[in-house]
Symmetry: C2
Subunit: 241 residues, 2 copies
Amino acid sequence: MLEAFDPSSLVLGVSEIARRSGLPKSTVHRLLTDLVAERLIVKVRDPATGATAYQLGLRLFELGERVPQHFSLSQLALPIMEDLREATRQRIHLAVLDGVDVVYVEILGSGAVEVGSRVGGRLPAHATGVGKVMLAYAGPEVVEARIAAGLPALTARTITTPDGLVAELRKIRTHGFALDIEESTLGVLCVAAPVFGAGRRLVAGISATGITRSIDPGTIGPAVRTAAFTLSRALRSDASS
Amino acid sequence: MLEAFDPSSLVLGVSEIARRSGLPKSTVHRLLTDLVAERLIVKVRDPATGATAYQLGLRLFELGERVPQHFSLSQLALPIMEDLREATRQRIHLAVLDGVDVVYVEILGSGAVEVGSRVGGRLPAHATGVGKVMLAYAGPEVVEARIAAGLPALTARTITTPDGLVAELRKIRTHGFALDIEESTLGVLCVAAPVFGAGRRLVAGISATGITRSIDPGTIGPAVRTAAFTLSRALRSDASS
DNA sequence: GCATGCGTTCCACTGAGCGGAACGGGCCTC
DNA sequence: GAGGCCCGTTCCGCTCAGTGGAACGCATGC
């Protein structure tokens, strides 16, 4: 039922939540009362209509910040992301693979252009730089799962064929980094590198993103790879302590 | 039961969760199975012992990022916080009042020194700069609630008497900003200002934090207040659109 | 004035949830 | 090697908590 609150609808009434979740209104109303008591949901007065409405509560935010895949990773990554941002002056993303999508666990810097990424947001892996770089170093079963789930286009430049994706991933493994040239957002270019943890296992992807005409991959690529190596080493040190 | 996962214990076994939550082991086990199915919890192998353990799942992080008090506020605040960070070169905090505590909803920059603040973390309001500034502009019932809940010391410099706190809050209203001179962390000074939304209602507090000897409140105070005014105006514009 | 949809409450009915006990396994100590 | 301890997991008899359709009062729009 909590999934009814999506990023474009953060404040909802009982009937709308019932519609979105497929539960009866009385069930939703009772569950909301319980969740309000647990402070996972907050009951508010919708300023637009004056009606009763509900939104996710601060407690949920506090719990969300304790998710190890975000918290532990961010703690080690943030200083390195700050360095990369200082060095490149671009918007820096840190994301993990979740199923066939990427989920952004940390983003530094607002960009010169509006991009679709958002902390806690998810995008299909094949259509982003960090996603492609993680697909390149994840097992073939993840690539196959992504292909099976479909390769939807985010822009006209998104890779939408299995052969095209497989060839692209091979190229990424050769270069050691991925490029997203307007595949997720028109006018935006992104350079991404893989981050490994203990046992050389893929943990995350890190990237620098900016306006296509202001980014030189030849210059930024090595910087992103350096940050990725630094974070990988930090993760391995952390795992053995 | 999810509260059993606290920031110092992110990975727990069934028995430990049962102890912390006061629920029987079979109840905990069954609830965990349900939460794993909902992907709010992840079942992992504890690398230290090889035993089964559980941690909060990425889905919870995604939901946490949709909490309006974090998401909507951060969206408007981040560019302003970045400006303030650029101008002051200090660690920037954005926090909201929750009951008698402050909860940090956004933090920019790692500091020169380790401070107790953490995104999603909470601290007693009377013992932090952003907390004192919000107490100064919140209703007296919030101040009374904080006093009734006790004024625990975080350092030897924390205000621990009701009269001392009331006098301090009056002073803050006179100056329009708060100072935290080593009250939450030794060696650390913080300058904070209040952020208002529609109807001149207090929404948040913003602050710049750094090493005591590297911060001049006379210089940084106006910068923090400027950022607070800018964010307040952005919030009022946002509310009326 | 009527229709529609809202949030809220009621209550007869149903099966889902509870949690103590037992199990097998791993680890540690003697 | 045996015994003790604690772990995670499973079972199942028992109990009442949860369900959701219907009805209500209210607000809005035509």
